[in-house]
C-alpha cells in the first residue's frame, strides 16, 4: 500500500485542484503563444487563412454545361475541369488560388455544376477572366450522315417554300421522327475531348498526304485512355469524316483512312504560325472537358480588404475587453474566472481557425465578435444559480457545484438547439453561409466546453467560504446586487 491510496485529506484535494487549474492555465497560455507565433511569423505552417473580402482579390463563378454528359460521368469531368483551370490560374503566380467544384443543392431540380475560382491579390478581374477564357475546348466529333441528310431535306423544303410563294416561307421547327433537327454542323459527339489530352506541339507539315508544305499544324498526343478511345473510334469509322472542333467551331474534318492506334492526332485549320503556336501552348495547359460560362464575378481591392480586417479585429478586441470588464464588475471573483474561460474560448477558437483551417471573412469575423458576447452565457447561467445557493448560506464551493448541476439542463437544451441550427445551415448553405455555420457550430461547442472545464476547475479552486463570514473574500465571491 502506498500513500496515494490513503483517503485524501482536504489539503491534498485542494492541492490536486490547484494543480489541475495550473495545468489548464498553462495549456491555454501555451496555445495562445502558438496561435500568436502562427499569426505573426511570415513563414508559419498554419497562418490564418483570409477570405477574399479581407485579403482582396477576385472571385469568379463559372457554370459548366453538362447537359450532354451522362450523369455518372459528371463528377469526374468536373474534377478534370478543375485541374485544367487550376493549371491555368497558376500562371498568375498568386499565393493560394482556390479552384473548386460546387454543385447546386437539391433545391433546384437539375443540379447545376459550378466552378468557383478565387484569386487572392488579383484585383484586375478582366485579366483573370481573359486568362481563363484562353483555355480551349477541343472536341472530336463524327460526321453524322443521317443528320446531314435531314438537314438537306429541310433546306430543300425551305427553298421549295421560297420558290412556291415567291417570298421566304417560315418553316420553323420541322420535326422528323419527333425530334427537332439541329441546325449545327451535322456531327455527333464521340466522347473524345480535350480531357484525354496529354501534350500538344507546334509542327510544320511535310507536304505529304494532301497538306500544304510547311503549313503550321498542332499535333496532340492523347493519354493512354484517350489513345484507346481514339483507336476504337477510328477503327469503327473508317472512311468517315472526323470533325475537330475548337471552342465549338469546326476546324477541319479529315477523312479517317485507317485505324489510328498511335495515340496522336494532327489538327490543321489554316493556321498562321502564330495562331498554331498559341493554340499548342494553350492546349498544353489542358483543354476544357465541357463548355463553361462566366456567371458571377466579385472583386475587392487589397487595401479595402486590409481596412475591413483591421476594423474587424479592433471591434473584436474592444468587444472582448468590454465583456471581460462587465463580467468582472458584475460577478467579481467568479467574473474573473469567467474571463479566464472567455480568453480560453478565444484562444481555442483562433487555434481551430488556423488548424482546420477556417477561411476568415468579414461575415465570419462579425459572427465571432457576436459569439464573444454569447459565449459567457453558460457562465452567467451557472453564476446566477450559484448566487441563489450562496445567498441561502451554503458555502461558496458547494454553491458552485450545485450551480453547475442545476444550470446543466438549460445549458444542454440551449446549446443542442443552436448546434442543430448550425448543422442545418451547413447542410443548406452556400459557401459563405457554410463558413458562418461552421464558426457558429464550433463556437457553441467550445463555449460550452470552456464553461464546463475551465470555469468549473478554476471556480472549485477558489478558497471556500460562507457569505455569513462577512470577510472581503466572502464579498468577492458573492456576485451582482444582493438582496
Amino acid at each position: 500500500m502506498t500513500d496515494s491510496s490513503q483517503p485524501q485529506t482536504p489539503n491534498s484535494q485542494g492541492f490536486i485542484r490547484a494543480f489541475r487549474a495550473l495545468i489548464i492555465v498553462l495549456a491555454v497560455a501555451g496555445l495562445a503563444f502558438w496561435v500568436y507565433q502562427n499569426a505573426v511569423q511570415p513563414e508559419a505552417d498554419k497562418p490564418f487563412k483570409l477570405g477574399l473580402d479581407l485579403a482582396g482579390g477576385s472571385h469568379l463563378v463559372y457554370e459548366a454545361d453538362v447537359s450532354n454528359i451522362d450523369a455518372a460521368e459528371v463528377p469526374e469531368l468536373m474534377s478534370v475541369l478543375r485541374d485544367v483551370i487550376e493549371r491555368r490560374v497558376n500562371v498568375f503566380g498568386v499565393s493560394e488560388p482556390i479552384v473548386q467544384v460546387e454543385s447546386s443543392s437539391f433545391v433546384t431540380e437539375e443540379p447545376i455544376q459550378r466552378l468557383v475560382v478565387e484569386l487572392p491579390g488579383v484585383s484586375d478581374v478582366g485579366e483573370a477572366v481573359a486568362e481563363i477564357g484562353r483555355t480551349p475546348l477541343l472536341e472530336f466529333k463524327l460526321y453524322d450522315e443521317a443528320l446531314a441528310a435531314q438537314q438537306e431535306t429541310l433546306q430543300n423544303l425551305e427553298s421549295l417554300g421560297e420558290s412556291a410563294t415567291g417570298s421566304r416561307a417560315e418553316i420553323g421547327n420541322v420535326t422528323i421522327d419527333g425530334e427537332a433537327i439541329s441546325q449545327e454542323p451535322p456531327f455527333r459527339d464521340t466522347g473524345l475531348t480535350g480531357r484525354y489530352l496529354e501534350t500538344a506541339a507546334l509542327e510544320f507539315a511535310g507536304g505529304n498526304s494532301g497538306q500544304l508544305s510547311n503549313e503550321p499544324l498542332v499535333s496532340v498526343r492523347f493519354t493512354a485512355e484517350g489513345a484507346e478511345l481514339f483507336a476504337e473510334i477510328t477503327r469503327n469509322n473508317v472512311n468517315k469524316q472526323l470533325g475537330i472542333f475548337l471552342d465549338g467551331e469546326l476546324l477541319s474534318a479529315p477523312n479517317i483512312n485507317e485505324p489510328i492506334t498511335g495515340g496522336t492526332a494532327i489538327i490543321s485549320g489554316g493556321f498562321t504560325a502564330e495562331e498554331a503556336r498559341a493554340l499548342a501552348q494553350n492546349l498544353s495547359f489542358g483543354a476544357l472537358p465541357v463548355p463553361i460560362e462566366l456567371q458571377s464575378t466579385q472583386t475587392v481591392g487589397a487595401s479595402l480588404g486590409a481596412e475591413v480586417l483591421g476594423k474587424g479585429m479592433q471591434a473584436g478586441v474592444y468587444g472582448l475587453g468590454l465583456v471581460l470588464l462587465f463580467m468582472l464588475l458584475w460577478y467579481r471573483l467568479p467574473g474573473l474566472v469567467a474571463g479566464a474561460a472567455l480568453l480560453s474560448y478565444v484562444t481555442i477558437m483562433l487555434a481551430l481557425f488556423q488548424l482546420i483551417p477556417v477561411t476568415l471573412t468579414a461575415a465570419g469575423l462579425a459572427g465571432f465578435v457576436l459569439s464573444l458576447g454569447m459565449a459567457v452565457d453558460a457562465n452567467v447561467l451557472v453564476f446566477e444559480r450559484m448566487k441563489e445557493e450562496y445567498a441561502k448560506g451554503i458555502s461558496s464551493r458547494e454553491a458552485a457545484s450545485i450551480g453547475f448541476t442545476r444550470a446543466w439542463s438549460a445549458i444542454r437544451d440551449g446549446n443542442i438547439t443552436s448546434l442543430l441550427s448550425a448543422i442545418i445551415l451547413f447542410w443548406f448553405g452556400t459557401s459563405l453561409v457554410k463558413g458562418f455555420a461552421l464558426v457558429f457550430g464550433i463556437g457553441v461547442i467550445m463555449s460550452m466546453l470552456t464553461a464546463l472545464v475551465v470555469t468549473r476547475t478554476l471556480l472549485l479552486t477558489l478558497p471556500d467560504t460562507k457569505k455569513s463570514a462577512g470577510t472581503l473574500l466572502a464579498t468577492l465571491l458573492g456576485n451582482g446586487i444582493q438582496k
Partner: protein, 306 residues
Amino acid sequence: MLGSALIIGSLGLNLGIDFTGGSLTEVSYEIAPNKTELENLINTQNLGGISVRASVDEAGRDAYLIRTRDLSESERVELESTVTSLGEAGEISRFTSIGPVIGQELRDKALYAILGVVLIIVIYVAFAFRGIGTPVSSWTYGAITIFVLVHDVLVPTALMSILGYVAGIEVDVLFVMALLAVLGYSVNDTIVVFDRVRENLMANRVEKRTKREEAGVMYEDVNYTLTKPYDKIVGEAVRETLARSINTSLTTFIALLALYFLGGAVTQTFALILMAGVLAGTYSSLCIASPLVVTYAQWRAKKETN
C-alpha cells in the same frame, strides 16, 4: 408584432443583388463628382435601369454604389472607364456581379434554411420538455417557441424594411445570417425560461398514482396536482431567470456595439439588425412566451370545466 408585419407588408424589402442577380460597383473618389452628372453619364451606356447611391468606402473616401443589371465583361470595362472619367482619382474599389440563377437559388436556400431551423427547433423543444405534462403538453411549449421566434424575426426584418425605405439599404446574405443568429439567440433565451418553468413544476407537484383493472390488464394512471397555481410557478421562473436574461443580453449587446462602432462598414447593418434581434429576443422570452403559456393553460382549464 402586428406593427412589424404591417411595416414589412407596406414598405417591402429592398432585395439586394445577392438575391435578384445584377451587378454592384463601388467607385471611390478623392473628390467625388455630382451624383446627377454621374447618373446621366452612366445612362449614356444604355444599361437599362440603374441606381446610384452615395456612400463612404472603408478608407473613408466618398464613394458611389452603382447597381445595374448583371453585366458582361465588356460592359464592366466600359462602366469602369465611364465612372472613373468623372471626379478626381476615381477607382473601382469593389465589384460584384451575380447571375439571376444564382440569385434565385440563394433566395430559395435562405428560405429553406430558415424553415428547416425553425422546424428542428420545435421538434427538439417538444422532445426536451416531454413529460412536463401538466397542465399543458410539451408541444405547447414548442408551438409557443415558434410564435416567439416569428416575433423575433419580424422585428429586425421590419427594421430592415425601414432602413431599406429610408436609406436604401439592401437585403443581402449577411442579413439572412443575422436573422439566423437571432433565431439561435432567441430560442436559447426562451429555453432558459422554460427550463426554469419545468424545474419549478417538478418541485411543486404531488404525484398521485391510481391503479385500475380493465379486462384483466392492470393500468396505472399517474396524475400530477400542482401545489401552487400554474401562473405563479411561471411568474417565479421568469423572475428567477431575469438576471441571467438581462446579463447575457447585455454582454451580447456590448459585443455588438463594439462591432457597430468599430467594425467595418460591411458589417454595420449586420450588427444593427442583431441588436434589434437581441432586444426583441430578450423581451419576447420574458414578456411574450411566459404570459402566452399561462393564458393558454387558463383557456384550457376553462374549456375543460365547461
